[in-house]
Symmetry: C2
Subunit: 503 residues, 2 copies
């Protein structure tokens, strides 16, 4: 067991100070050594921000005892230790989150599930997989592909993201517009509750009306109700054929209108929008010569990436209809040869200046590497029919606040990823950075107001974490936040589980 | 306001006695007259079993004050009155439930939402409808059909069932195998909580990761968390084409195996199984001459009804694959001409000896009108791959207990509707009826054990109500039932809302 207890926890300028003393961590460590000696090699007390971060700019504001258990029984014993010490428990998976949902804010026990990746049962005929929470979606893809099956949720980070973490955040992704987000695919969850008990929620069946849907309540609960130690999912046959087309538009408004035209006629498997800011200096013409460079598309170049899939006949029919709809809406459509599809999708998924917790480029990438460090990544969700007016409102507000915008949207779902940038975004600290941050917060506050006024919400797929609690409170309202608190206490009367996350 | 207060509440032999005195109902009525005089014409105190029943054999064991409010504000005021008197609140819709979920067990305020059927907003382009909870699925079908849209959940009672009631039970139906059950289609719920407050849960968006999914928690909560006073749903384009085929099998085992073969190749929009008991004396040959009478199919005649849908190309392709799969699995396949499809589906949905609350034939019909009154309707859900072995287990157990079975399954979902009958089922009362009931309970207990052992659950789409509480407790286990109770208290600290239902 290695140590790196600092004299004081590092504090970011605006973060609350770490109040309880790290002594509790030493006591936790002693209990761990006595009761779970086999975990000694998988435990560390640390305040190293690199070991405590996710992929958001959320700073850890306290040291933590990080333990990586190997079994559900380990997790139960760990929660009992934490309960005895009133030590907050922060569950985490692969740390690909974007809202600081697994970043400790006071001395905590961080339960890292990344070692728990065992396949408990794979039943291809029954279309069910029971697997440890630490398995990545990439590993699940490898398991299913030889059988012609796929698990649809595909957040941009899916190769690295853990199934447990994606369940805890109800992760979405590119193809959710057709296949739905995580909650559609989860059937059972094994969870360790705050009292150390282990229960299995749900059943391995297609239809389940027995009692409350506590499985779904856990999906998206961001570690505040318990720790997910086993996940049972269902999956579906991978489509026989996928067809990807790119459509160049002269304006974001035109592209947004095209999304409505398109979705009234076909059910795309993917419908992504990249605005001029997100396209940046990317040379789309180098990837797809027939598309040319965005500069040639018009004053406000905007790209739609539309994929249809299904049986050969279905994909063919959908592709014809999709192309017609996009052209009808004013798009210049280029179909991408199958051999180049992966490169195009990687362009959508990758290539950011944001570092991952593991040092790789972040997968939720919107801007090319040459751009300044983005700040305030957002994940707004609006009615699809209001996509265009929302983009217009964002740009109007950003212009007033002299802030730049980059928008990449899961447009078919009305789910907008928005980055706001100021000229000060590159500043490391000091007055310029603080002024820039205030400028961004001001703009974002008005954008949130516009989104809520149009019936939208502050998160479509990333969750609330610690970054968006104030906005979530504004979104949900006082009475619904009360319901959240009382529901949380129903599972965890002493607020042990990931306090300060979500609400 | 009309009265019919009995001297004592009628009690069924096995039902608990009504304990609080009906005096509380008179006090509730006085408060109602003072505070909500406009509801006088829509209120009645009654112990009439006909006015208090659903479509299950659950007897009301107490009188109730039934009030049919017109607005959400009415419901709020009613709940405040009930709270002041500690009077249980029983919400109900169209009373098409099959588990006694809206049948009072002690003197109660029954909040009948059937007058609240206003269309608040219909947005075809945005694919959202906000409507009062009392609107029937049949009315919603009429609203959407002219626009080429459909709301998929279609419990057999859908023409009469209310949207609020189907949300409260997470109703399924025939085409859920492709389109999912109610929870996939609900986006927002306006609910009145036990303290009389009104909140809107969820957002009108395709993807929502803001806070706990309390909307989904309400779906299937059977009136125990609050009263649904407004429902926001999404919908989808009605398929351009549907193709229905019937497949005759010589045995239930063969038909069950065919379901697996079929579902591995296509995604049917409907996949129903009727066993020999459910087919009874129906002359399928009269409906579809090429099919002939079940007596000619083999020793254990079993029917699969398979529908595929989609665009013309997709339906055509799926129909070819479906027919091939069914024939490969030993079925004799007859495609039904479009003109006769409705008659066939009505055969599946209708024709029972069970009366509805409104006196019409029940829609959850499994037996033809000539058969004895069925009892103990069940709604078991098992992994699809275990459908065949579950049917075999049911028959083995039934045979031991000398009980007859009728099985109609949403086979593609593994959801079995099972009726058990004894020779005494027709007896109105007395020793024969009691002995028959004990015989049925014994058989059903063993069947439940077999279902739970195979990973199944006691309800796929009807819910638990008051009929299946003991089985649900066995299914979920003590710790999960505790979680249900604490979750319920989080919303309703004084257990006002539909106590005794679900768990």
């Amino acid at each position: 067991m290695s140590h790196s207890v600092p004299a004081a926890a590092p504090c970011a300028p605006d973060a609350p100070p770490a109040h309880p003393t790290p002594d509790v961590l030493l006591r936790a460590e002693r209990l761990l050594a006595a009761r779970l000696p086999h975990l000694a090699a998988h435990a560390i007390i640390t305040a190293d921000p690199e070991l405590l971060r996710d992929e958001s700019p959320t700073p850890a504001t306290a040291p933590a005892l990080i333990v990586a258990p190997g079994t559900a029984a380990d997790v139960q014993a760990l929660v009992v230790i934490a309960g005895a010490l009133a030590l907050p428990v922060v569950p985490r998976g692969a740390r690909t989150g974007l809202v600081g949902g697994c970043v400790p804010r006071s001395p905590s026990l961080v339960v890292d599930t990344s070692r728990m990746r065992e396949v408990h049962r794979l039943d291809i005929a029954g279309r069910t997989l029971r697997i440890g929470p630490g398995a990545t979606l990439g590993e699940i893809e490898e398991l299913l592909r030889p059988h012609g099956m796929m698990y649809p949720p595909d957040p941009a980070s899916y190769r690295r993201a853990s199934i447990g973490g994606t369940v805890a955040t109800n992760a979405g992704g590119l193809r959710c517009v057709k296949y739905g987000v995580t909650d559609r695919w989860v059937r059972t969850l094994d969870v360790v509750l705050a009292d150390g008990s282990l229960v299995t929620l749900g059943h391995d069946v297609a239809k389940d009306a027995t009692g409350y849907d506590l499985t779904r309540l856990f999906v998206g609960s961001e570690g505040t109700l318990g720790i997910i130690v086993g996940v049972g999912i269902t999956f579906c046959p991978a489509p026989a054929e996928s067809r990807l087309m790119l459509a160049a538009f002269a304006s974001a408004a035109g592209a947004a209108a095209a999304v409505a035209t398109l979705c009234a006629r076909v059910t795309p498997a993917m419908c992504e929008l990249l605005d001029a800011g997100a396209l940046g200096s990317r040379d789309t013409g180098a990837l797809v010569p027939a598309l040319g460079s965005p500069a040639g598309w018009g004053a406000d170049p905007t790209l739609l990436m539309v994929q249809v899939d299904g049986s050969h006949a279905e994909a063919e029919a959908e592709a014809i209809l999709a192309r017609a709809a996009l052209e009808l809406a004013g798009g210049r459509v280029v179909e991408v040869a199958a051999a180049h599809t992966d490169a195009i999708l990687d362009m959508r998924r990758g290539g950011s200046a944001v570092r991952t917790a593991g040092g790789e480029p972040s997968a939720e990438a919107l801007v090319d590497p040459g751009m300044p460090q983005p700040t305030l990544p957002q994940d707004l969700s609006v009615p699809v029919a209001r996509l265009g007016q929302t983009i217009a409102a964002i740009r109007r507000i950003a212009s007033t606040h002299r802030v730049q915008t980059r928008i990449a949207a899961h447009a078919g779902d009305g789910n907008l990823h928005l980055l706001l940038l100021t000229d000060a975004a590159g500043a490391e600290a000091g007055a310029a950075a603080r002024a820039g941050a205030a400028q961004l917060r001001g703009a974002m506050g008005e954008i949130i107001d516009a989104v809520l006024a149009s019936g939208g919400t502050v998160s479509g797929e990333h969750g609330i974490g610690s970054l968006k609690r104030d906005w979530a409170a504004r979104d949900l309202g006082a009475r619904t936040i009360e319901l959240h608190r009382s529901t949380q206490r129903a599972f965890d009367p002493h607020s042990l589980m990931n306090p300060g996350t979500g609400f």
